[in-house]
Structure formats: C-alpha cells, structure tokens
Amino acid sequence: MKVIVCAKQVPDTNEIKINPETGALIRDGVPSILNPDDANALEEALKLKDQRPDTHITVISMGPPQATDMLFECLAMGADEAILLSDRAVGGSDTFATSNALSAVIDKYVKEFGPYDIIFGGRQAIDGDTAQVGPQIAEKQHLPQVTYVVDFQVSEDGKTVTVKRQLEDGYEVIEVNTPCMLTCTKELNEPRYMSMKGIFNKDKKITVWNAADCEVDLTVVGLKASPTNVFRSFTPRPKGKGSMVAGDTEAEIAANLIASFKEKHII
C-alpha cells in the first residue's frame, strides 16, 4: 500500500516560558520536536508496514528548512522517504492556506509516484491545537475522513479500513474505503524509537521542494490567502494570587478555610 503521513515540527510547548517582565514568549532554547500526535500517525503507518512489507511510507511536511531534522527522525523511525515544502511564499498560512499548500504537495506526489491509499495525520499539533488541517486536506483531496482514530484495521485486499473513532462518551466503529484521510490520537498506539539501522541508512532521502517545484497556486497560500488573521495576541493575566490559609495543624487550617467560605458566602 502507499501511505502518506502528514507531520509537523513544533516547539515543545512544555518548555516554553513567559518573560515575566515583557510578557513575551521565550522561544530561545526551546527544543523543536515531532508533533506528538503525528508520531502516532507515523507509528500506525509503520505498523501497517510491519504487517505488509510492501507498504511505502512518505512523510510530508511544510515548514522552515530546519524541519528536515524532524523528518530525519521520521526516516530513522522507519518511514521510506520524506518531502518538505519550504518556501517563504507559504509562510504565515492559516489552516486553510496550509491545507492548500499540503494538498498541492500531495497532488505533486501523485503525479510523480501515482495514487496513494491512506493519508495519516495527527489529531492536532500542540502549538496551535486546532485539529483543522487534517479535515481541510481531506476536503481538498476529496477524501472521506475519520478523525480521532483510536483503532485501525485494514481489510485483506487493502480496499477497506475499519476504525474506531473516539467520542467523549464512547466510540463509533466506522468503515471507509480507501483512499481516505485518518487523524490519529495518542490512544492509538505507542510510537517506536528511532532505530540504529534507520539512523545510519543512507539510502533514504529527504526531498525539499519550493512552491514552484510542487506547482502551488500562489494565490491560495501564505498570509494574504488566509481567511483568518491574528487581530491581537497577548499573554493571559495571572489570576490574582490569594493567600495561604493560616493554622498550626491541619484541623485548624481546615476550620479556618470553612469559616472563610461561610463568611464570604461561598458555601
């Protein structure tokens, strides 16, 4: 089967700090990582390849040239090749424009390598948490989509997949024919580590395309073609810090807390 995995390099939001004086985001020294849900997307593709060794996995991404580090990691985990769209013309894209750009990469892929069977993406990226790019690529590729995938099976002939889609209070079992777009959650699997063989394999390559290489329509990508714009951005004001509840013993502290609740009519 031919599988495309959409992956994004993101700052590790766990490591981001705010400069208390300026209120600005400190991104210096913040490590860039493979977006966690995208690692689950890649893992699911790799599991498919374990079952069906003829599976070919292409990871595609859009981002600055440094995103090749992340793609290198994907290859070392076991993907067969990677394509990065890197061009100033696509900078500043919102999810709508990003999906246009990635869809152009996929169209170009099809021209060069023929049709694909499945596109896996992560449920959402931790920098924006929008979960929009997957469904929007599906729309542009005219594919059926299933989001929040927590279980994945493919039929013997590779033509039908059966997935579980997570809901807040349970799940749905959905059957869909290939080609289709699936977005993956962390519950789906445990991503594997890079292998030594993967790290030292020199045959695998990362192709970097610019906008012209993948024939992106420049009127539908980038900041200007994005229907949404950032009006303002800011940091939340820390909620006023309260006070420590006085008392020498736990019993005293508890009594003081409840007394204060009652005094302020909280209970």
Partner: protein, 357 residues
C-alpha cells in the same frame, strides 16, 4: 464564499444533538449568540440549526433557551453524524441563507465537521475559542480585565462589528484573538463549559424553517457500523458547582478513593490532572485542562496538582481555587485563592470533617 459581506446576516448555532438529545454546549452557544446579536444590531437573529432525523421536538428546547429561529435539516441519512452528510447539508444551507456567524461546540463532532465546512465554503475558522466579542468596546473591557494586552491602540467607538475570537495557543502560554475580515460566514468552535446558557423560558417560541435537504446514499462515504457508549461513570465536569481534583501527588490509583469520598461529602465531582490519566489511575473523562475539559465551578479543589500551564488552562476561571500541595513553591499557588501547604492525606479528611460544622 461571496465577498459582499453585507449580504450575510444573523448568528447560527450548530445545535449538535446526539440520539435526539441536544448537547449542553449548543445551549451555551445560544446564550452567547444572544449577547453577540444584541451587540450587532436589533435585527440580528439567533438561529439554531438542528441536523438529524425525527428531531422536530428539539426546536422547542432551542427556543426556550433563547433561539429566535430554528433551521431544521432532517433526512434519514442524517440520523447519525457523518462528516460527509453533515458537511454537505450545512454548507448548502449556509450558501442559501448566508449567516454572518456560525458557532459550533468544540466537541469531537464539531471539531470534525467545522473545518471541513470551512474548507468547502472558503472561509475562516477559529478553533477552541474561550471568548467572543463583536463590539470593540467590550473587547477592550475583556482585555483590560483578563490580559496584559495594551488596549491604547483600540478605539472603543469603532463601528467594527466583526467577530473577535479569542483562544489559547502554545499550550495556554499565549492567547490570540483571531478575525476573519474578508470572508463570510465567520466561524468558530467554542469549548464546552465556557459560555453561559440563558435562563430557560418555558413556552417561549419562534420561527421554524424546514430546509429542503438534498442527500443520496452515494454522498456518504463512511459507514457507521456501531456507536458504543462506554459504561463509564457519567462525569459532568462542565456543570459541576464543586470539583475535587486529584493529581500525581495522590501517589497511586487508591488516592482517588479519598478524592471520591471528598467529592461526595461536598457535593462535588471528581476531576484529575493528566498525569493520573496517563498513569491509568482514572479515566480520561475526568481530566481537566487543555487536552481535557475546561471547567469553571464555584469551588475547585486542586489536591496534589503542581499547576502545569496545561492544567491551569482548563481551570483558572473557576470562581474559587483551593490548592493543597506539599511543596510551597508549586505553581498552583500562583492561581489559588486559598493555599494550603501540607499533605493532602492529612488535610482533606480535616476539611471533610469541618465541612458540616
């Protein structure tokens, strides 16, 4: 869609229903839309859009919670949610009736559907909003009270009535306000639990518009084989007045027995940090935070929770926050109204005892 922005009127709420029950977030959005409509002009109507099959009876509930109009999109193929069918009928209805704003709950269905519609309608979508404004004056008020934004460049008398959609980014470290200046409708998904429902007015009615729906089996490419409700305990974190949340400081899954007893005592609901969910101590349904539920109870007890930014993102709007933590430097104390430094296993039983006194 069209660029003649003035053709677009009214606020639509995708009134998500599952198995004939309206989701709470839909009613919250009707409440929010009521406020926004007033700030636009007297003509702007709040419209609920009901998509399904055999759900006529739900219109009344939408009216009683504040909808002026209900658009009914019914068809046997809309019985269960499928992206293809719902996206098709919603986009076609939007093209016909041209709403100015469309709001969706940021549920697993809303977050699947809305981006697909936005892509098809060539319009913008802002995910997981926690605050909405149309009036610049109100936006300034909000920004002054809650943010570090310099509002001096904003004109409170501005005629701008575009939707300003505020949402957390970078794991809650940053907030951004997003606009869709050139396309209509302006669309947003909104997190459950952050907006307020209107008071229900029994017997309140409005206009029902039955929309002719065009659907064929071939339009729907996914087949729902089964919908499984997991027999997990119903957790209604968003409606709870009091939440007792446990974190890794509980030390193990048994700790939730104490938290449960605590919650039962104070009439609350059990919440959790992600660390406990990741450790398998408790189900994800209890998780509060950026990747869990957003809550704003009257009292939030954070027990053995350090106060990571992703956790704070989901609970810092609670009316009163009580933090119990061994570590006096734990960041949770930065947002707590009441801080208690101590061992939760000693403190909680005492609070339970003092509660009834």
């Amino acid at each position: 869609m069209s660029t003649n922005l003035a053709d677009y009127k009214n606020i639509w709420v995708f009134a998500e229903q599952r198995q004939g029950k309206i989701m709470g977030v839909a009613l919250e959005l009707i409440g929010e839309a009521t406020k926004l409509a007033k700030d636009i002009d007297d003509e702007t109507k709040v419209c609920a859009v009901l998509v399904g099959n055999g759900i006529d009876h739900l219109a009344q509930e939408c009216f009683e919670y504040g909808a002026d109009m209900v658009y009914m999109l019914q068809h046997p193929l809309l019985e269960n949610f499928t992206t293809d069918a719902y996206a098709k009928v919603m986009t076609e209805a939007m093209e016909e009736y041209k709403p100015d704003i469309v709001l969706y709950g940021a549920t697993h269905i809303g977050r699947d559907l809305a981006p697909r519609i936005a892509a098809r309608a060539h319009t913008g979508l802002t995910a997981d909003c926690t605050h909405l404004d149309v009036s610049v004056a109100k936006y300034i008020e909000f920004a002054k009270a809650n943010t570090t934004l310099d509002t001096s460049t904003l004109d409170p008398n501005s005629p701008d009535k575009g939707l300003k959609m505020t949402r957390p980014a970078f794991g809650g470290n940053l907030m951004a306000t997003i606009i869709s200046p050139r396309t209509r409708p302006q669309m947003a998904t909104v997190r459950p639990g952050v907006m307020s429902k209107n008071e229900r007015v029994e017997g309140r009615t409005g206009e029902v518009v039955n929309v002719a729906v065009k659907l064929e089996e071939a339009d729907v490419r996914t087949k729902v084989l089964e919908i499984v409700k997991e027999a997990k305990e119903m957790v209604s974190l968003t409606d709870a007045d009091i939440i007792c949340s446990g974190g890794r400081g509980l030390g193990g899954p048994e700790g939730f027995e104490l938290i449960k007893a605590f919650a039962d005592k104070v009439g609350g609901v059990v919440g959790s940090s992600r660390a406990c969910v990741d450790n398998g101590w408790i189900d994800h349904a209890h998780q509060v935070g950026q990747t869990g539920t957003t809550v704003k109870p009257q009292i939030y007890f954070a027990c053995g929770i350090s106060g990571a930014i992703q956790h704070l993102a989901g609970m810092q709007n609670s009316d009163i926050i009580v933090a119990i933590n061994k570590d006096p430097d734990a960041p949770i104390f930065e947002v707590a109204d009441y801080g208690i430094v101590g061992d939760l296993y000693k403190v909680i039983p005492q609070i339970m005892e003092a509660w009834d006194k």
